[in-house]
């Protein structure tokens, strides 16, 4: 402990840097809820007074509700499908000694680094060539591409951290692959599955670029927000909507990260001991 303590000593300049970084990053975001409660349709200082009228207005707006339910439906579908695909991919990557493993991982992770606009345009061209009409299904497809890398990245450490002899022990005790998956593998990676569901749902719910290219007549919530920006008198209730989205998706992401880590430190201690 003594020998490493200089590494743990607080570093003043690093702390200042971190604080400045966070303020610059999140200050604009904090302005959104601030103006959502401001009693003026103009977004400017000084603040005019506290009101909840924009939230009431939002509540009574049917198109906003439609867009909300569209995003929920797409988000749930994307969460389930990308998590299932993520489980299959993570299991394949960690369990089988196969050639081209690294290439496969790189391929799956590619959408993280390729700009969404490129994927969006490419998919749009492809789908229109194939004569597929744009709809919530095409949005779902686009979101799957965006979310799959996150699902795999969340699940992979779970599968990697898990002792292969657990599955062998199950086979040894007479269970085939199917039962071994449900009785051993799935319960052990379950926190990762929950984390992946939460994370992919949130990403899909907030996603704009893919949806922008692939939405048909039914908008998702971000598309709806964007479409309303043209109308100044709508703007405060859009701010109200944006602050609601913020309010719910940030905790969801934190829960996802927390659940994803559940038991990981414990199980790594367990293997270190043996």
């Amino acid at each position: 402990m003594k020998a490493t303590s200089h590494l743990q000593r607080p570093n003043r300049s690093l702390q200042v840097y971190a604080a400045v970084f966070l303020v610059v990053l999140y200050l604009p975001v904090l302005l959104i809820p601030l103006f959502a409660f401001n009693d003026s349709i103009y977004v400017r200082f000084p603040l005019r007074g506290f009101t909840t009228q924009w939230f009431v207005e939002l509540w009574n707006r049917q198109p906003a509700w439609n867009a909300f339910w569209n995003s929920i439906r797409v988000g749930l579908t994307v969460a389930v499908i990308s998590t299932v695909l993520g489980i299959v991919a993570a299991k394949a990557i960690t369990r089988y000694r196969m050639p081209g493993r690294t290439a496969l991982v790189t391929f799956i992770m590619m959408p993280l680094v390729i700009p969404g606009i490129i994927f969006g345009v490419a998919l749009l061209v492809l789908l229109s060539r194939m004569g597929v009409p744009l709809s919530l299904y095409t949005v779902t497809l686009g979101h799957l591409i965006v979310c799959l890398p996150f699902a795999v990245a969340t699940l992979l450490p779970r599968f990697e951290g898990f002792d292969r002899s657990m599955e062998e022990a199950s086979a040894d005790l007479g269970e085939n692959g199917w039962w071994t998956f449900w009785r051993v593998t799935f319960p052990m990676v379950f926190p990762g599955v929950v984390a992946s569901l939460l994370l992919t749902f949130t990403i899909s719910f907030d996603e704009f670029i893919m949806a922008f290219f692939l939405t048909g007549t039914d908008p998702t919530l971000p598309i709806y927000i964007w479409s309303q920006l043209r109308f100044p008198q709508q703007f405060p209730s859009i701010l109200a909507l944006a602050s609601l989205v913020l309010f719910f998706s940030i905790p969801l992401i934190f829960i996802a990260i927390w659940v994803g880590r559940l038991g990981v430190s414990q199980s790594s201690e367990g293997t270190a001991e043996s």
Partner: protein, 368 residues
């Protein structure tokens, strides 16, 4: 062990990982109810061979038969064997009872009957009342027993154990060795036990296969391995051994003698000994086969030497003795039942003394 009584029969089995041959043409037979050990240094292929018996590794060449059935087409979950893993592989998300009952699902027993069987197993492994403990609330020794119970509850024909005592401290390990041996006698199941600890193998086993570099050097009882090792590797792996260069002399007589470096002529005890006159051999003698005395003993085979070093170990003493005609000192181990030996520590270096041995204690091996 004749082929017909073999319960497990390993026939010319090899296993290659890429170009590396982890198991090299191994054959052995294991009888029903036997406590059989695979002994060898780390990396010699013990785990690989055990995993091939369990079905987790395929055989590159050869075939394994269990109870007369060829095993290559049989997947692990259909083999009549169960394994205790080196790290025990206790399921962390299940409590002790569900861990032990894990393999019972297919038998579709009523819940009460299942609990009863688990309780019986907990009794057997001396952990009664542990059923509802969580997997992470167990010590190493308890995990080891639960892994054992989880396998034994299925009444397998063969239990495979991969260094199950390796992770335990010395005292617990010795206690578990006794319990394991008693348990094996009680349940009558064939045990195939992997260890790198020669003492453990000698204590527990009916028979031992000594392995090195993927090959089996010798399969024999503990006494057989100790008293008549078939090679220098086996001889030095099991206990300590002194080796002497020697030459066979027949001189027309029926029984050969061996002209041994530093020890003179020793008649060969084995009448089937067939090496020709002039053949180079190695003579091996265990440290405790020498007797030590201050004056010339009344023995046929004796030689005078000088004390190079000694150590008093309580019940016995170790000596290193130099003799004429041999550069390396001879290791001698003697029980402390005479005054001369017991005072080992007080003898000055270079004290002259006598070594004697009996000709039937020698083991004749091929030259290096």
């Amino acid at each position: 062990m004749t082929g017909s009584s073999a319960f497990i029969s390993v026939r010319s089995v090899s296993k290659a990982f890429g170009r590396f041959l982890a198991i090299d043409n191994v054959s052995m037979d294991i009888a029903q109810g036997e406590f059989f050990s695979l002994l060898g240094a780390s990396g010699c292929g013990k785990t690989t061979l055990l995993r091939m018996l369990a079905g987790f590794e395929s055989t590159t060449r050869g075939e394994i038969f269990i109870d007369g059935q060829p095993m290559s087409p049989v997947p692990p979950h259909h083999r009549p064997v169960n394994m205790v893993f080196q790290n025990y592989a206790i399921f962390p998300h299940l409590n002790v009872r569900d861990n032990i009952a894990y393999g019972l699902r297919k038998q579709r027993l009523p819940r009460a009957r299942r609990h009863e069987m688990v309780e019986e197993m907990l009794e057997l492994i001396k952990l009664p009342g542990f059923g509802t403990r969580k997997a992470n609330e167990l010590s190493g020794g308890q995990r080891q027993r639960i892994a054992l119970a989880r396998a034994l509850i299925l009444r397998p024909k063969v239990l495979l154990l991969d260094e199950p005592l390796g992770a335990l401290d010395k005292q617990l390990r010795e206690q578990m060795q006794l319990e394991l041996r008693a348990l094996q006698r009680k349940v009558g199941i064939t045990f195939v036990f992997v260890t790198h600890d020669q003492e453990e193998a000698l204590t527990l086993s009916d028979r031992i296969a000594v392995m090195q570099g993927g090959q089996v050097l010798q399969v024999d009882t503990p006494a057989g391995l100790y008293e008549s090792p078939n090679s220098r590797s086996v001889a030095s792996f099991i206990g300590n051994m002194n080796f002497f260069r020697g030459t066979v002399r027949r001189n027309g007589a029926a029984n050969a003698i061996i002209e041994t470096e530093g020890l003179g002529a020793i008649p060969v005890p084995d009448s089937r000994f067939a090496r020709p006159d002039g053949a180079a051999v190695q003579v091996a003698l265990r440290p405790e086969k020498f007797a030590i005395s201050p004056t010339k003993p009344d023995a046929v085979h004796a030689v005078q030497g000088r004390l190079a070093n000694s150590a008093y170990l309580g019940e016995r003493s170790h000596f290193y003795i130099t003799i004429e005609g041999r550069g390396e000192p001879i290791a001698v181990s003697a029980p402390n039942h005479n005054r001369f030996v017991a005072n080992a520590g007080s003898h000055a270096e270079d004290t002259p003394l006598w070594l004697s041995w009996s000709s039937d204690a020698i083991v004749v091996l091929d030259p290096e």
